[in-house]
Structures are given as C-alpha cells and as structure tokens.
C-alpha cells in the first residue's frame, strides 16, 4: 500500500457521513478535515466539541456511539500548542473517525464529554494529569497516574525525559 498524499480540502471530504452530519446540524463547528492513510480527522471548534460529540453519537445514519480514546499531542513551541484527540467508533457501521480540537498553550481548557460518554472519565483525567488540560464540567478532575502533589505535567514536550527538572 504505497502512501498517497493526504486530502485536506474540506470541499472534497464533505460527503463523509460525520462531516455532512456536523455541517448540516451544527453549522460552523467544522474547522477543517484531513483524510490520510485511510483515516479521517475532523478539526472541531473548541467551544462546540461536546455538542459535536453528542450529535455524532445520536446520528441515525451512522452513529459514532463508542468512544475509543481521548488523548493529546503537544506541538510545543508552536501555537496553537495542544491538540486534544478523540477517537470515535461506530459499532453498527464499523467506522472510525478522529475529532481534533486545537488549544492555545496558555491555560488550555475545553468542555468535558463525560456527559455524552461516562467512559471518557478516566481518559480525560489522564490528559489533565499528563498534559495539564482542564476539562470543564468533568465530575472528578484530579490526577490519576501521578501522585496528587506532583508538580508539572510529564507528557508536555518542555518536560525532560530524564534527570531532574
């Protein structure tokens, strides 16, 4: 399977069920999209991530009803620094889609999706713990892997891999 260049033109990708559904029911929520290596990524506006997730979950055509994963990538020193990443799966249609939210490095926060999927709880706590991203309206946003009194967020790129801080 030789690599083909990714498609990043939103116009070409708007047929995809998730993008079509979001654009029809939540106008302005899709910032961009990328189709690369058979995987679809959709950039969602920060303030609408929870509504976008709820919409995709309840889509009658292709319900992305299962949250596989929530994680984050730190693009330090670039801005916007963080990308929070949601991997959704449609159990009925056997399809995956990746949602991405870009966040500024200064006091990053966004809305929690635990009210859509309670299963996002531990994943979001982990992102909070290791990246320092705050999830508004999360029921129990505390460190999960590191000790309670730990300083810093180890998976940030400005945190050293070894040695003392």
């Amino acid at each position: 399977m030789p690599l083909t260049p990714p498609i990043t033109d939103l116009e070409q990708l708007k047929e995809h069920p998730a993008i079509a559904h979001l654009q029809a029911n939540l106008p302005g929520s899709v910032e961009g999209a990328k189709f690369d290596r058979e995987e679809m990524s959709i950039y969602v506006v920060r303030s609408q991530i929870r509504e976008a997730c709820a919409l995709l979950r309840d889509d009658a055509q292709c319900p992305f009803n299962y949250i596989s994963d929530v994680t984050c990538v730190d693009w330090y020193p670039n801005e916007p620094r963080f990308e929070v990443i949601y991997h959704l799966l449609s159990i009925a249609k056997k399809e995956r889609v990746r949602l991405k939210v870009r966040l500024e490095g200064d006091n990053p926060s966004l809305e929690s999706v635990t009210s859509v999927w309670p299963g996002a709880d531990f994943f979001e706590r982990e992102v909070f713990d290791l990246f320092g991203i705050r999830f508004a309206a999360h029921p129990y946003l505390r460190r999960i892997q590191m000790p309670e009194d730990w300083e810093g967020h180890p998976l940030r790129k400005d945190y050293p891999v070894e040695g003392y801080r």
Partner: protein, 401 residues
C-alpha cells in the same frame, strides 16, 4: 495518585457506613489496584478505583527512542499478552510507512497472537477461579500455559517478553520443528478446555458465585467504553478481528462468542469459548502457512540478515545506519486498534518525519473496562467485588503504563 498521604477521596455519607481500603497489595486485585470502598455492613455502597501505582511513563520514554527501539517497551505494558502489543505497535508504524508485509509473516503473527490470547486467557481463568475459591483450576491452566511459553521460547528465545514482531516482519525464521510442536499442542488443547469446563461450568458453587453477579447492560457497557469479552458478555457483537480485520485475519473462519446475560458467568463463557475459537485459528494457520520471506523487502527499514551483513557492503551500510540513526518515518498520524485478549488495544502514533516517534499513545482496554467496576458492584456484597474484578480481566501494567 500513588501515595498515601492524601487518602480522603471518599467521605462516609452517613454514620452507618465505613471506608474500607482494598489493595494495592491484595492477592485478588491482580497487581496493584487499590479500591476505596464505602461499605454498609457487607454491602458496598460506593467504589472508587485508585490507580497509578505502576506508572512508569512508557509513553514519554517512547518519544526518546527510535521507532524500532519501542518494540521491547510495548512488551512490558502488558506482561500477559506481549505479542498483541508488539503487533499493534508494528502495524501502526507499518501503516505510517506504507509497508507491505509478506504473507508468511502475517500468518505467523496471527498464529502467535492467538497463542498469546490462549496464554492470557489461561492466566485469567486460573486466577479468576482461584479468587472465587476453586484452587484446582489454577494448576491445570498453568500446565498448558507452560507449553505455550515453551513455544514462545523456541520461536523468540524468550518466554514472556518476546519482542518477536519487528517493523517489517518478524525477527527470525521459526526453528525447524516449531510447527510440529504447535500442532501437537493444538491437537491436545481442546480436551484440556473440556477439563476446565468440567471443573467449573456446571459446578453449583461456581454458578452461585457468578450467575447474576456484577451484571452490566449493553447500553451501560458501551457508554462506559468497555470492549472485548467484557462487552461481548453483555450481548454486543463486535470483534475487531472480524469487523475491521488486520494482519490477514480476513483469511480465517471463526465464531465470535457472545452472551446476553452480562454477568460474571456470561463473561466467563465468552472467554472459554474464545479459547476454542483461538485454537481453531491456530490450526488454520498451520494448515495454510504460506511459503516465502518473513521480512518485507525494505532495506532502509528492515535489518539485513546476519549472513548478508557480513558479506555484502550494502547490507553492512544499511545495518549501520538503522542501528545508529534509525529510519525516518513520513509525517502523519495513525490509530491502529487490535483485539487484545482484554478488548480494544489501540496505538496512536504521531510522526513528525524524524526517526523518533513524536507521540505514542496506548489506548488501554483495561483502563476503560475498569470504569465499569462501580456500576457492577455498588449495592452488592464485598465478595462479589472480587468476582467482578476477576471477570473484567485487568492487567495493571496496561492501565498505568
């Protein structure tokens, strides 16, 4: 949250309840899981899992290694199914590279992956039964597990931390009598499963301890992110091997056992039937094992054979370059999920075009499955908590990473 100074995560709701700490050093928490229970007599009112005691920062370590150096780290995430983690990681990197894998390597991977699944389920069955009080099963399970570990040793030189799968194929050609040994094991194994089932499935004590215990509905299981046998035990028919095939799984015929009850017994039945399906896949790989290379033809990525390295200049140069500076992977990102014995194991690998991964994230099936525990156990007896922990089959190494 691995330390003990700030304990009060649960306050007793009223005078009649008390807080009980279970673990992290507790024989039936399968490692270092700590549970904070609020109990009213013998009844559990609330549960709070506390994890992080085994956090080693593997995801951070991966960012400082070359792509090929990450493979041994993936073994150590889940010590019961090293091959599954190897497979998931190498598939993700191969997808990033756009690498085609020869059929023999794919079939070998499937065979070893299914043996790993059996290995993991045997440890689960033995310890789960032991937690509930059926001590004998443990000895029987470990007898067969030993056979599998010997097979792993024969093929990779290691019993547990195999690191046998490499980016672009597998490490070595299996030894001459390897397939005969696997066939001998595969022929005898179904009767061994009968032995375990004789001890448990119709055993009245086993049924009393597991039927109707720790029930979870399909809706709850999906909402909480459960996967694998834990989800199939609640009647959701999904198996990534069949529904989103990888590594040539589309060539094999197997059933996906499901059960609608959603209790400990249902999950037990799903896993025991998976043992039988897995051994049937192993037999299919033996019958149809293709001939040919075990490594992809990609000299910049795959290490050359030892013999070539010593006789050909070109091979020596590639060997030197891969070892000293790794290989560049085209920029991009990939999420690869496989059906591990515990559920959906996923690797999210981000490349920035250099020889080291920019980000490696492991989607842990156990971390999500653990979230079911409060829903399963609240309102039930403490003894049922032990049964419930066993039935979601957690490995703390994978939860904490």
């Amino acid at each position: 949250m691995a330390h003990m100074t700030t304990v009060p995560t649960l306050d007793p709701g009223q005078d009649r309840t008390m807080i009980l700490n279970m673990g992290p050093q507790h024989p039936s928490t399968h490692g270092v899981l700590r549970l904070i229970l609020e109990i009213d007599g013998e009844t559990v009112v609330r549960i709070m899992p506390d994890i992080g005691y085994l956090h080693t920062g593997i995801e951070k370590t991966c960012e400082a290694k070359f792509y090929q150096q990450v493979v041994p780290l993936t073994d150590r995430i889940d010590y019961l199914c090293p091959m599954t983690n190897n497979l998931c990681y190498v598939l993700a990197v191969e997808k990033l590279l756009g690498l085609e894998i020869p059929p023999k390597a794919q079939w070998l991977r499937v065979m070893l992956n299914e043996l790993t699944r059996i290995n993991s389920h045997l440890v689960w069955l033995g310890t789960h039964a032991m937690d509930i009080g059926a001590l004998t099963v443990f000895l029987y399970c470990f007898r067969e597990r030993e056979d599998i570990l010997r097979l792993f040793e024969a093929v990779s030189g290691q019993r547990m931390m195999t690191s046998y799968f490499r980016i672009g194929g597998v490490a070595l050609e299996p030894p001459l009598d390897f397939f005969d040994r696997v066939r001998k094991f595969a022929d005898s194994f179904p009767s061994k499963v009968d032995e375990y089932e004789n001890l448990l499935t119709a055993n009245p004590i086993w049924m009393m301890r597991t039927k109707g215990v720790a029930r979870i509905t399909a809706e709850d299981a999906i909402a909480l992110g459960a996967s694998g046998p834990t989800l199939r035990g609640s009647g959701v028919d999904i198996d990534l091997r069949r529904d989103m095939p990888y590594s040539g799984y589309e060539n094999f015929k197997f059933k996906v056992p499901t059960s609608t009850e959603g209790d400990v017994f249902a999950r037990y039945l799903c896993r025991v039937q998976e043992l039988r399906e897995s051994i049937s896949i192993v037999k299919q790989t033996l019958d149809g094992m293709p001939l040919g290379a075990i490594k992809a033809d990609a000299p910049k990525v795959v290490l050359p054979d030892r013999e070539k390295m010593k006789t050909q200049m070109e091979a020596l140069i590639y060997h030197f370059k891969i070892i000293t500076e790794g290989f560049a992977v085209p920029a991009g990102e990939v999420y690869q999920a496989v059906e591990s014995p515990r559920g959906e194991m996923g690797y999210y690998v981000v490349s920035d075009g250099t020889a080291k991964p920019y980000r490696v994230h492991m989607r842990s099936a156990c971390l999500a499955n653990l979230q079911l525990l409060p829903k399963m156990c609240e309102g039930r007896l403490i003894a049922d908590v032990v049964a419930a922990i066993g039935s979601i089959d957690i490995v703390l190494g994978e939860i904490d990473r």
